[in-house]
Symmetry: C2
Amino acid sequence: MSSNVTLKQIAESLGVSAMTVSRALNGRDNVDEKTKGRVIAKAEEMGYTPNYIAKSLVSQKTDTIGVVIPKIAHSFFAQAIQGIEEEIFDEKYQLILTHSAEQGDRERKALETLKAKRVDGILISAAQNSDNYGLYRQIAQSGTALVFFDRYVEGIEASCVKVDDKMGAYKITDHLLNHGYQKVAHLAAPQNISIGKDRLQGYKEALGKHKLQVEEHLIEATDLHEAGGYKAMKKLLELPESKRPKAVFAVNDPVAFGAMDAIYEHGLTIPDDIAITGFSDDIRAPLVKSPLTTVVQPAYDLGKRAARKLISQIENEEEPLENIELLTSLKIRESCGYL
Amino acid sequence: MSSNVTLKQIAESLGVSAMTVSRALNGRDNVDEKTKGRVIAKAEEMGYTPNYIAKSLVSQKTDTIGVVIPKIAHSFFAQAIQGIEEEIFDEKYQLILTHSAEQGDRERKALETLKAKRVDGILISAAQNSDNYGLYRQIAQSGTALVFFDRYVEGIEASCVKVDDKMGAYKITDHLLNHGYQKVAHLAAPQNISIGKDRLQGYKEALGKHKLQVEEHLIEATDLHEAGGYKAMKKLLELPESKRPKAVFAVNDPVAFGAMDAIYEHGLTIPDDIAITGFSDDIRAPLVKSPLTTVVQPAYDLGKRAARKLISQIENEEEPLENIELLTSLKIRESCGYL
DNA sequence: CATTTGAATGTTAGCGATAACATATGATAT
DNA sequence: ATATCATATGTTATCGCTAACATTCAAATG
């Protein structure tokens, strides 16, 4: 490694003390204008770049936030990350991005590294099968700012920025029911993450509004990705004709896409044989064979909002904990059937 | 902020020196097994997390790499980032993600911060209108490992990992010409980034193979995104009927999608009135109205490969500079017309 | 039994920067 | 002319950790 230039080297070559150089470069008072000029010129000439590592050790601040994402290549998360990055960039923060691949142990390692790197705050969307509740709590209590984002975990003293999942699920299920479908199934995400629970709850409440019973065989468990949706839908299609749903509310768009594949493979059409809806407005939603009716989740804004909340929490001890819910809206396309 | 536990605190509460604690926790030789046990237990009990900032200051290594991406939410880059993350995770590196938004000045700021944070290496895909050649050179020479990825810049002593852009462009243009189209246009990216230049070159060589003249009015400049493609295609459509191309090779898929919109808006059909092809196999390519024939770019693998090269360069002084080209393949769908 | 040996531990210094305090110098006041 | 003060600069210690050298003490050696 070529040695980087240090304050001390600049100081020596100028015959002043390191402290003077530090003051000059940081624009402090009490430095002679002439000296300041000489220092800045010399620093430029020597190609000086301040060492943030050393700075951080003194200031106990790294101007860095850690982000833990279950799946980077998911269009929702990619957009959210971009929102986060743009928000913090203006505030002079940097982003350490980690990826849990929906796995609890990878998430744990990521969190531990972020702690070790002394990030000022952490933004996390919990992995689907996370069991790191103790760790979340420890971080929240240790003074590292922590904000949940999209998926939260109950009982942790941390803010959360998400959309109104329950209401979104309620609205889209209600929309299906308004079409007159009696048997509406739900492809449900794991119940230990908030979107799994909240969207199921919204689904149930919509059934309630229409005076329909919740039928357990119409609720099929899935993960949050295409393959899971495909498998879950397969199961529903194995039901006897009489019990088979005429409409399906999938917990998110990727799951809906997987389910669509299963439906086509079964020789059925969408929406005529089976209607389907998703959640998130994935970039592919308008493009699939039967364009997907879905709940629009403002991913980019969600990222920005979460980042802003995290920074407020870092910079202001008194910042209150709060749950921020952005509103969703329905995007009616064709997959839900025509009214 | 709650103070984090330090080595010294553990040492004091155990009545040993900080050095002994350090040795015990880092599994060095020359520590009594009993002492080691006590230290580890105590560290656990006190909730110790090593301070990587301090460690880095001593070791002159941060185990962190910086990544500079023009547009995170672009599906190609999102996949590549995921590949990068997965590759470096196993090697105990972390990723600082920055976003240039295709802007030279944001890119410059990002690079300077990464330098200041003393990342061990940088992976960059140059912004479309970057003019930071001097800075690239300075970084490459300063001893920070630097690897270009997807888009490179000539004349910098740095490795590059990309696909065989020229060959990919050649193959897909050739494919169009084999359909019998005489007038094939190209929506070309800026010539200061490699993909702009190389893909244009591949296009020209394919024309040459078919003994066709390069006609400047059939080469329309665009940026790399949907809106640019739309605008560029609009211009081509304004050409008199006799000069208008019957087929278009767009520099990448987003540009192709924009161009498709312009074509439909003009009341024409794809591929019957105008055939079109892209480059990158975006997640939307198979889904659009006339599924897009394109060049498959293995984004995830590209990310992994680039990350691996960067780490080799960080860990091995002798690692040679090289340009690594991954191979592309054609994905024939419908937008190129039927053979 | 004095001495060598080496394992276990301690001490000091330094990574690069800055906070806090100390000092020097010239200007101003009395 | 001497005291006072503000400005510019220097010195020291510290952030948390580790490399390099120093010390201790018990077991092994002759």
